[in-house]
Amino acid sequence: MSAQDLSIDRPARKHSLALSIGLALVGLNVAVALLTLFWTPYDPLNASGGRLEAPSLLHWVGTDRLGRDYLTQIMIGARTALIVGTGAVAIGATIGVTLGILAAFATRLLDDVMAATLDILIAFPTLLLAMLVVAASDSASLWSAILALGLAISAIVARLTRILAKRVLRQDYIVASRTSGTSWPGVVLRHVLPNIWPTLSVNFALQFGLAVIAEASLSYLGLGAPPPNASWGRLLQEAQGTVYTAPVGAIAPGIALVALVIGMNLLADGLRDVGDPTRGRSR
């Protein structure tokens, strides 16, 4: 059989292009997010123009119903999205990789139970889980959203880690390494983690994008970070009410969001090829 990818991929020559576009989109987002720490076009909290102004040279994306500059808020939204994506993936990776490695070493019974529980947790949709965690915390904040999304991601990461780690642990070089006196923690650090890292990092990039979408959905539902934290989801929710008079506000934050998520997905595609030497050779 030909070594065709099972995953959904485009032809090989486009991959370096995918990586470049991905890096450019994510890089732009990071740059804008960092910029907002020092400078924004206008004060994000106070009116800087008339209400619901159409886009102009002064306000590139127009103003919202309180006269605040949309571009400023979208730029701050980029920061929020990065914080959520990074935070959720960091939590998910820490818990998920730890659990996954432990499951790979566990006895058959314990491993079966963990695998079944993870399957059920994954079947439970991220958004519902996040809604519950946010509702359970006293007040909706950015951190409760990050925690909720991180927990949801950890189940997915744990399942993946478990499968990958078990595959590595079956290899001959693990036996060799053990025979030559390496402890199990040493094996994990020296052989398992480096071997599963390429696949994991691709998954992290994908989960990052999903976390950004999920946070936007939470904010859209009114369960995200409260004002004055600008979030693309809440911007879209507020703009929906004025879509008849000022449609631009209901479109621009969405474009920013989709650009970041696509950038992350392209980055994942690109990483898949860079990070996995066996794939490169088969081409």
């Binding site: 065709q4 059920i120 949709p125 958004l127 519950l132 539902l221 209901a250 998520v261």
Partner: protein, 341 residues
């Protein structure tokens, strides 16, 4: 022996074992019940984590200790935790979901009313997605090197990066604001007594769900078709004289459908729950808006009821999809009876 790469990476805990088909159904049913129990535990724990005693909802401001005790007695929050849990599981098993703190009506009645919005919304969106995705997915795999094959897969890539609520808002902007074809939201007061109005109100929400789901389905169908196209059995069929469409229809569809069925199950379940967001976009009185309202009002019986029923639906869909997969794929069946190697 080399296995044809037919299956997507869908984990299937029972793949390695070989029980008889009846044993498989029983085993799968046991997993269903076990999953429900785990879901009940998760629900119970999560609801105890919510701030405040659920009895508070029954009390007015400045209630004295006696009234508080009476209220706690009524909702059962004065019992030890394990007794609360047993009562909880017992009433779930009887579909007794309690009465709403806010409206005083039985939760199950409210859910039944809400389901008449959410179930048609999810099902119609699902059907639309399948109608869009099956031909486009196959086309984009068969004609991968033509411009439209590439265009279809690029657009479907876009589809997974777009939040469903934004698609809804965009459709509102186009079809409600600019073209004035459909309403931007709302639902007829008398519900299904007026079918025409319901379908009119559901048009944009269904389109929203259908488009987003179609985008992710296309990718799976494309991938499954590619596997079929590269398979040995298709080449054999062609070598034996079958025309390409004939070979594809007789051998391809059934083989390709196996991994797709479980994907469909997952997608349908996701849609049912993803309807929360779409209902919010179009102000539809479905299960999702019931959950949001209940969370806001701290109406615990309603929160619990919606979560339990939606989990039940998700698990039942997964169960049905797994059984359907066995029926479609004779190899899984044979393996199940132990006849094949």
């Amino acid at each position: 022996m080399q296995k044809p790469a037919l299956r997507l990476q869908v984990s299937h805990p029972s793949d390695e074992r070989k029980p008889a088909i009846l044993a498989y159904i029983l085993r799968r049913f046991a997993i269903l019940i076990l999953s429900l129990l785990i879901a009940a535990v998760v629900l119970f724990v999560l609801l105890r984590l919510l701030p405040g005693d659920p009895a508070n909802a029954l009390l007015s401001v400045g209630a004295d200790q006696q009234q508080i005790e009476a209220a706690r007695e009524q909702v059962g929050s004065n019992l030890p935790l394990h007794e609360q849990f047993l009562r909880f599981v017992g009433s779930l098993a009887r579909f007794d979901l309690g009465t709403s703190f806010v409206s005083g009506k039985p939760v199950i009645e409210e859910i039944a009313t809400r389901l008449t919005v959410t179930v048609p919304l999810a099902l119609l969106g699902f059907v639309l997605a399948v109608i869009i995705a099956v031909p486009l997915g196959i086309l984009s795999a068969v004609k991968a090197h033509r411009w439209y094959g590439a265009a279809i897969s690029t657009v479907s890539q876009l589809g997974i990066a777009i939040p469903v609520f934004w698609v809804g808002i965009l459709l509102v902007t186009v079809f409600a604001v600019n073209l004035r074809l459909f309403p931007s939201g709302g639902y007829p007061r008398r519900g299904w007594q007026n079918e025409g109005q319901v379908l009119y109100a559901l048009a944009l929400p269904v389109l929203t769900i259908g488009l987003v789901m179609a985008a992710s389905l296309i990718r799976y169908i494309r991938s499954a078709t590619q596997d079929v196209l590269g398979s040995d059995y298709l080449r054999t069929a062609r070598a034996l004289g079958a025309s390409f469409p004939e070979a594809l229809i007789r051998h391809g569809i059934r083989n390709g459908a196996v991994p797709i069925v479980s994907i469909l199950g997952i997608e349908l379940a996701t849609t049912l729950l993803g309807a929360v967001v779409v209902e919010r976009v179009f102000a539809l009185p479905g299960l999702g808006s019931m959950l949001l309202l209940a969370i806001e009002q701290r109406d615990y019986p309603n929160v619990q009821g919606v979560l339990f029923i939606s989990t039940l639906l998700v698990l039942l869909i997964g169960f049905a999809a797994d059984l359907a997969q066995r029926v479609i794929d004779p190899r899984l069946r044979e393996r199940a009876t132990g006849a094949a190697t």
